[in-house]
Amino acid sequence: MKLAAHAKVLNLTQPVIGRVTTRPTEDRVCRRDEIFLSPNGQAPPELTGFAAWLLPNSEEGVREASVPAAWGVPELGYLADGDVVAIAPNGWTRVLYRRSSPHNTILMTEQCNSYCLMCSQPPKPVDDQNRITEHLRLVELIDADTAELGITGGEPTLFKDDFIRLLINIREKLPRTALHVLTNGRMFYYRRFAQRVASVGHPDLMLGIPLYSDVDFEHDYIVQAAGAFEETVLGLHHLARYDVPVEIRVVLHRQTIPRLVRLAEFIARNLPFAAHVALMGLEMFGFVHKNLEEVWIDPYDYRQTLREAVDTLVAGGMNVSIYNHQLCILPRELWRYARQSISDWKNVYLDECAPCGARSRCGGFFQSGVKRHSRHIRAIEM
């Protein structure tokens, strides 16, 4: 599933963001927020007031369009009512939100103050602070019944004021939506910032913060930033002080496995307030390829370590999940912790998986993981 494509455009002088609709309303004020979608090419009776007209599979009548129009993007044929789309004057059309997906995220910025060895979404040194305008607009257009929304990056807290503004807007426009933020937590080293996030008073906020070792120099090496452990750990404590729920996220790879059990002990002892600990398989994206030898380990080879770490966390009263692992490489005792976590547009299965009896409960693979995966993938007889 592609989330962006190049369209042919007409009448487009500035970027347009709108909520896709196939049912034209008479209300002209509402239409300003809407992009009329013609999935099969049928033109509406009249287009006046719409932000744009989008025809993924057709160009019939488009030359006569009275509003900005975009066409020729069959990849986006899946679009449906309530989705939010941004169309740039050059035709670059991005799907910002899909109402039917449980995995919608706002990419706050592509910049980051860490440079993790295995980063799946490597940071870019671009000045993209003005993205915030689009994010604020998006929040106005998203369906208020959306169950969950994510904020990710880069590092979303780099521009502190914008981050707070976004949280406030989300709380106001989407009061029933659970909000999950992926942040390295380093900015919360500044206690006042943790306090500001808390004082937004979002009713259902969770900050997912990675921690890769119980020892500062190991963590700093993995995130390639001296002092990061110090900032993240104190940041976690500041968030706890203001009752902001946090989740600890640990990516499992060759550099984190050797001290994983010690890290589990560290979390249980030093971060018992964490609402959740996610132990996550490596995504074969981004920097992983640059540092393959340094980070790749067959998950089958660490399954006993993983089990010991889970036992340690559970015994410490922590709520544990295992993400991005296929059931056939996990000890049975760990199945109850395995979640089908891979975003719906990313996960696939191998040929070996066809006869597997556990497939319906298995998270499968990232598309990117098909090429490099455990040598122990096999069908399970239930």
């Binding site: 120099f217 110090e230 890290l263 640059k290 540092n291 009263g317």
Partner: protein, 495 residues
């Protein structure tokens, strides 16, 4: 090797020397057990330990990382290790912040039992003399509500408290009425032998969510030998009362504890099995306390600390066998010790605090209005020594009782971090002070570790529990379930 544009591991490793955080250590079989200031432990080989304290440990070794991760050493001016240690220390000692949480009301001294190990009850019909009056109860309740603790527990004791049920009813109803206007939670528990319990009482306990704690010393022969009453039917009455109470209150609202006499020492397995047979999910193995009974009874029912520990080891072994077979049964004292050893949290158990819990974690309001620093303190008073009497509810103000000289002295003298023999003990972060016991057995609050039964008992138990935990994965699982206070099945694989 990392890719181009990335730094190697060496880039992030500390280059200088390291310094020590406070820690304590002891020889533990062939290894060294090191325990940090907040009770986290590590086992080290003698060689690694020598290198560690000699500051010769290479930063690239796993032991270095272990010691750093558990806050035994630090090697930079980073603040996180200090911040984390401070938070962990506060967490361990957090019960201090709330002050007195457990308030014991001795509503009567009368009891129809005449147990050899109990000195604080009277077989008497003289209500005037031995029952708590309404006025005394009201004044005591005023003090309970002065406690800064946001959640207090009121425990009814005796004697047999059900012999003054009317007072219990009044206190519960009054407390319930008062919490409607103040921010405080109140839990109630009644400690009773259940021999005299009636339907009316049980329905009242159900309506006001009063928990019941009873005594079961083992199978019929042991129980009746330990707990004589007219008709020698204590066991039968307890079992009958138990099933009745469970019917009305629900199975889990009734807990039991046992006291071991010389007679009990011979049959730890039978006692444990009796608890299983009666459907209990926990058993609290308790030795005799040296206050309650007269010296002449000591020869008949008493024993040495080593004899008790033999009993405890056998009973615990039996309990672990039962858990291994899939039936959850918690030994409450081990649960308390393990929580102190294996978790970042403290325990409210008043006899293992530093400073001691006497008076600041627990207060006892005696039938006559005297306030004592602990249950043991009033037992001592019954034996003629009122050293730990803090005041009287009818005569003294809250400030005088809980801020007076008697309590200040107990607190000041019961910080084990300053006690000879405790200050450098590896087990200090897991242990606590019992100054009332020291006083009762040795004449002063601080006590003498080399000859102290309390020390002997806890040194042995910490080692025994650690050995079990280290040597056996099943036991680790069982102990983890105890510490988390969940049935074992919660921790078990069920795909």
């Amino acid at each position: 090797m990392v890719g181009k544009g990335f730094h190697g591991r060496e880039h992030y490793r500390p280059s200088g020397t390291y310094r020590f955080f406070p820690f304590r250590f002891t020889r533990f079989e062939h290894r060294i057990l090191a325990v940090n200031e907040v009770g986290e432990h590590l086992f080290l080989s003698q060689e690694d330990f020598d290198d560690f304290v000699g500051k010769r440990l290479p930063t690239s070794s796993a032991v270095y990382a272990d010691l750093k991760g558990k806050h035994f050493l630090f090697d930079s001016d980073a603040l996180a290790p200090f911040g984390l240690l401070a938070t962990k220390y506060r967490t361990k000692k957090s019960s201090l912040a709330d002050f007195t949480a457990l308030h014991i009301f001795v509503v009567t001294l009368r009891c129809e039992h005449s147990c050899g190990y109990c000195q604080v009850s009277r077989v008497s019909a003289d209500r005037e003399r031995f029952d708590m009056s309404r006025e005394t109860a009201d004044r005591a309740l005023d003090l309970v509500f002065r406690s800064p603790s946001p959640r207090v527990k009121i425990e009814f004791q005796g004697g047999e408290p059900l012999l003054n049920f009317e007072r219990i009813r009044e206190i519960v109803e009054t407390a319930e009425a008062r919490i409607r206007s103040v921010e405080k939670e109140v839990d109630f528990v009644v400690t009773t032998n259940l021999a005299m319990v009636t339907d009316e009482m049980l329905h009242f306990f159900r309506d006001y969510r009063v928990c019941v704690s009873t005594s079961l010393d083992g199978p019929e022969a042991i129980h009746n030998a330990n707990r004589p009453r007219p008709g020698s039917d204590s066991y039968a009455r307890t079992i009958e009362g138990l099933s009745h109470a469970r019917e009305v209150l629900g199975h889990d609202s009734v807990a039991a504890l046992m006291t071991a006499t010389r007679r009990s020492l011979e049959e730890p397995e039978a006692i444990v099995d009796e608890y299983v047979r009666q459907g209990f999910s926990s058993i609290f193995l308790r030795p005799l306390s040296p206050y309650g009974f007269a010296k002449k009874a000591a020869n008949r029912i008493g024993y040495s600390v080593d004899e008790y520990l033999m009993f405890y080891v056998r009973a615990l072994h039996r309990i672990l066998e039962i858990n291994r077979a899939g039936r959850s049964l918690v030994e409450t004292y081990a649960q308390i010790l393990l929580t102190r050893m294996l978790t970042p949290f403290g325990t409210g158990y008043v006899d293992l605090q530093s400073p001691a819990g006497a008076g600041i974690a627990v207060a006892v309001y005696n039938y006559d209005g005297d306030v004592y620093a602990s249950d043991e303190s009033r037992m001592l008073a019954e034996m003629g020594d009122r050293r730990f009497r803090l005041g009287n509810v009818l005569e003294d103000r809250y400030e005088d009782i809980f801020g007076g000289r008697a309590l200040r002295e107990i607190v000041a003298e019961s910080v084990i971090e300053s006690w000879p023999g405790c200050a450098d003990c590896a087990f200090l972060p897991w242990c606590g002070a019992d100054p009332v016991l020291n006083y009762a057995t040795g004449g002063d609050l601080v006590g003498h570790r080399p000859t102290s039964d309390f020390h002997r008992k806890h040194d042995f138990l910490f080692r025994h529990l650690l050995n079990l935990y280290e040597s056996d994965a099943d036991v680790r699982k069982i102990f983890s379930a105890w510490v988390m206070n969940v049935p074992m099945t919660e921790l078990e694989a069920s795909a």
